[in-house]
């Protein structure tokens, strides 16, 4: 372990990252409350643009937490890739399979569901 003199404080960076995370969260909440019709009721890539915006914001937040709070940026490239690439690949794979199957079942089941009595 290096001694104290070599480590200078990163509090400035920490507060900056906190500011970014807060801003994104506030933007998410505002969008989630007003839900502008142009973003909420239109469709793009199989879902509403609003959902895509939320997903992108979430991934940006995850990036800031992992890179700067968990100090992934300071780890060796090999560790970073072993953890991040594995997670990203497996999660995308799993999510793709499950969501494709889910919407397929919806296509088949949806018309058969009885909604009038």
């Amino acid at each position: 372990m290096a001694n104290a003199q070599e480590h200078k404080s990163h509090t400035g960076l920490i507060w900056k990252v906190f500011g970014i995370l807060s801003l994104i969260t506030i933007a998410e909440v505002i969008l989630g409350i007003i839900k502008p019709d142009a973003l909420y009721l239109t469709k793009i890539l199989g879902t509403s643009p609003l959902n895509i915006i939320f997903l992108v914001m979430t991934i940006v937040k995850a990036y800031y937490i992992t890179w700067f709070f968990m100090h992934m940026a300071d780890e060796k490239k090999s560790l970073r890739r072993a953890v991040v690439w594995t997670a990203v690949f497996l999660i995308i794979y799993l999510a793709a399979l499950l969501l494709i199957e889910g919407s397929y079942i919806n296509d088949v089941l949806g018309p058969l569901t009885k909604w009038s009595y």
Partner: protein
């Protein structure tokens, strides 16, 4: 056989020796791989939630109508605000955690102690908030009627807003009392009774001409639940099986019981992580106070629990998105 045995330990056997694969200490590397596997577990749960949501895409409960409570604002429709507050509490406790790690790098025991304490308090507040959220969800807000095939029917007034059962249900005298073990069969339990009987609700519906019903199906154009004209409503209510108030693992007044199941399971599993994180933080906090890490010469242990704590925050970011926003 001596050739096969690692003899070069230099007193760091418990730290994994001097060989450091991937340039991280044994404990830190293993914490990273634990986090990786735990992330995959949570992805499995959230993926399963996504599967069910895609499957019932046309009739899934709308989160804005489910989580609408805020402390001290009784009866005010306040979606999102409370969960946003919870998110900020968790992000802030993440910040104090990373400040503790930062202070640990400078071997500043006083600062590490202070920031660890703030982190623990943040975690406890978050857990309390989650308990309150659960309480509101279990207690319910409007009440609904379940049909024979399990579908949920909710009541709306002339403006299309949901209306509480209390506002219209008949208050005729009912003979039905809660069964308890001392009044009847000692080996039989009964779930708590809904506030009104089915007959009272239907009687109230008939005597209030401005009320009608809303089904689970969502109008894809406006993304709101479809309202059935009053003339056709009785056909639905003739199928009614039970009055539902609140949510549990079997029934859910807001719609699909699956929504409640996944909500309880995923936020519960996350809350369990927060709880264990708080407990581990408390242990490390006392180790800091008694000077364990000062004597060891480094505060890497704070860094390792910090990783776990940030991971809990990271999971919440995704839970927040998939349960409340999307």
């Amino acid at each position: 056989m001596e050739a096969n045995i690692a003899t070069e330990t230099n007193g760091e056997t418990w730290g994994g020796g001097n060989k450091k694969p991937l340039g991280a200490s044994y404990g830190k590397m293993m914490m990273w791989f634990f986090i990786l596997s735990d992330a995959l577990t949570f992805s499995g749960f959230l993926g399963a939630y996504g599967f069910m949501r895609f499957k019932f895409n046309e009739s899934w409960p709308i989160a804005d109508e489910v989580f609408t409570h805020f402390p001290f604002l009784h009866g005010v429709h306040a979606p999102m605000y409370y969960v946003a507050l919870m998110t900020f509490i968790l992000i802030f406790s993440s910040v104090t955690m990373v400040l503790a790690v930062d202070a640990g790098h400078q071997l500043n025991k006083k600062k590490v102690t202070f920031y660890m304490l703030l982190t623990i308090i943040g975690g406890i507040i978050f857990l309390g908030s989650q308990a309150w959220e659960w309480k509101n969800f279990i207690g319910g807000s409007y009440g609904a009627v379940q049909l024979n095939d399990g579908k949920i029917v909710q009541f709306v007034d002339a403006t299309g807003h949901q209306i509480e059962l209390e506002k219209f249900a008949a208050t005729s005298h009912s003979e039905r009392v809660q069964h308890t073990r001392d009044k009847g069969l000692w080996f039989v339990k009964e779930a708590s009774l809904p506030p009104f009987s089915l007959d009272q609700v239907i009687e109230g519906f008939e005597s209030n001409p401005e009320i009608t019903i809303r089904i689970e199906k969502i109008n894809q154009e406006t993304k709101t639940k479809i309202i059935i004209p009053r003339a056709e409503a009785m056909a639905y209510l003739n199928e009614a099986k039970a009055v539902v108030k609140g949510a549990n693992l079997q029934v859910n007044e807001y719609g699909k019981p699956l929504f409640a199941d996944f909500f309880f399971f995923i936020t519960g599993f996350h809350g369990f992580h927060v709880l264990s994180g708080v407990i581990i933080n408390i242990i490390i906090f006392f180790n800091v106070i008694i000077g364990t890490y000062e004597r060891r010469g480094h505060y890497e242990m704070v860094e390792k629990v910090g990783l776990y704590w940030h991971f809990v925050d990271l999971v919440w970011v995704f839970v927040f998105t998939f349960f409340y926003l999307v």
